[in-house]
């Protein structure tokens, strides 16, 4: 049981690492949104599923409710994260930022 929890948790941390490094390395604002908006969402999904499984270790009604709340956080983030990403992209487009193309200098 503990091994499965650790597996989920470490997979989530791996995707979090990808997100953080991607924010640092990518050349412009539009391409930085790719790791920020989505690798973070998947990392949160995996690590919170692992923590919900760990919370069910000592089974009771309260633990079941807490795990259901953790899953509720995951569902909410899955609905909210694309919307937030889309809002940021929309702000960039309306302000007139041009996307980076191949061969330009990084900003």
């Amino acid at each position: 049981m503990d091994i499965i929890v650790c597996l989920f948790l470490f997979a989530g941390l791996f995707f979090f690492t990808g997100g953080a490094v991607g924010i640092l390395r990518f050349p412009d604002f539009y391409s930085r949104l790719h790791p920020a908006g989505k690798l973070d969402t998947l990392g949160l999904l995996l690590s919170l599923i692992g923590l919900a499984l760990f919370n069910l270790h000592h089974f009771s009604l309260g633990a079941l409710l807490t795990s259901a709340k953790i899953i509720l956080i995951v569902v909410f983030v899955f609905l909210a994260s694309p919307t937030a990403t889309h809002a940021i992209v929309d702000a960039g487009v309306r302000a007139g930022l041009a996307p980076w193309t191949k061969g330009e200098e990084r900003r």
């Binding site: 791996f14 995707f15 990808g18 490094v21 991607g22 390395r25 990518f26 050349p27 412009d28 539009y30 391409s31 949104l33 790719h34 790791p35 908006g37 989505k38 690798l39 969402t41 998947l42 309260g62 409710l65 259901a68 709340k69 509720l72 899955f78 609905l79 994260s81 694309p82 919307t83 990403t85 889309h86 992209v89 929309d90 487009v93 996307p99 980076w100 193309t101 191949k102 990084r106």
Partner: protein
């Protein structure tokens, strides 16, 4: 007159019931108490909220196709999960690649989608954004999509299979 009134009532009742069930489920989940006081408080406030906002959550009065549509939508989710996993691994590979700047090639892809209903368009746009490598930049009501793709491989397969599956899930063939 009488018939019209009855139509109006049935227009209202089923969305109210569905909204009420969803709201009450969330109430029980968040409060976690099962004594009489909290349950009755939840019943009253859920009734008020779903009376006010039933037509927001279910804009269509027809409830008949709704259950079948939800069943089809639930069958769409596992395919989306597998797709998200594959695409996430691709973006992680790009991030940790030492010569990342030569691999990526950002571009804006434009295409015309054949979906019509609002909910299907929103689901399609959110699915595109959740699939890494592509972000929806702009959607119009007619289905004109502008998508920012991070390299050629992730921008090419649009609209493709995802649109076909969503149009099947929302019954728009």
């Amino acid at each position: 007159m009488n018939k019209q009134e009855q139509e109006k009532k049935s227009f209202f009742f089923y969305p109210f019931l569905a909204t009420f069930i969803i709201m009450f489920g969330v109430w029980v989940l968040l409060s976690g108490k099962f004594d009489l006081f909290h349950i009755s408080l939840g019943l009253i406030s859920c009734a008020i909220v779903s009376y006010l906002s039933a037509d927001l959550l279910f804009p269509s009065p027809k409830i008949g196709g709704l259950l079948g549509q939800w069943a089809r939508f639930v069958r769409y989710i596992p395919w989306l999960m597998i797709e998200i996993m594959k695409a996430n691994l691709h973006v992680t590979y790009l991030v940790f690649h030492p010569r990342m700047m030569e691999l990526i090639d950002p571009r804006i892809v434009k295409f015309q989608s054949k979906l019509t209903s609002d909910l299907a368009l929103v689901t399609f746009a959110n699915s595109i954004t959740l699939t890494p490598g592509t972000i929806t930049v702009d959607v119009s009501l007619d289905g004109d999509f502008k998508v920012h793709a991070i390299d050629k491989a992730s921008g090419d397969p649009l609209p493709g299979e995802m649109e076909a599956r969503i149009s099947k899930a929302f019954g728009e063939d």
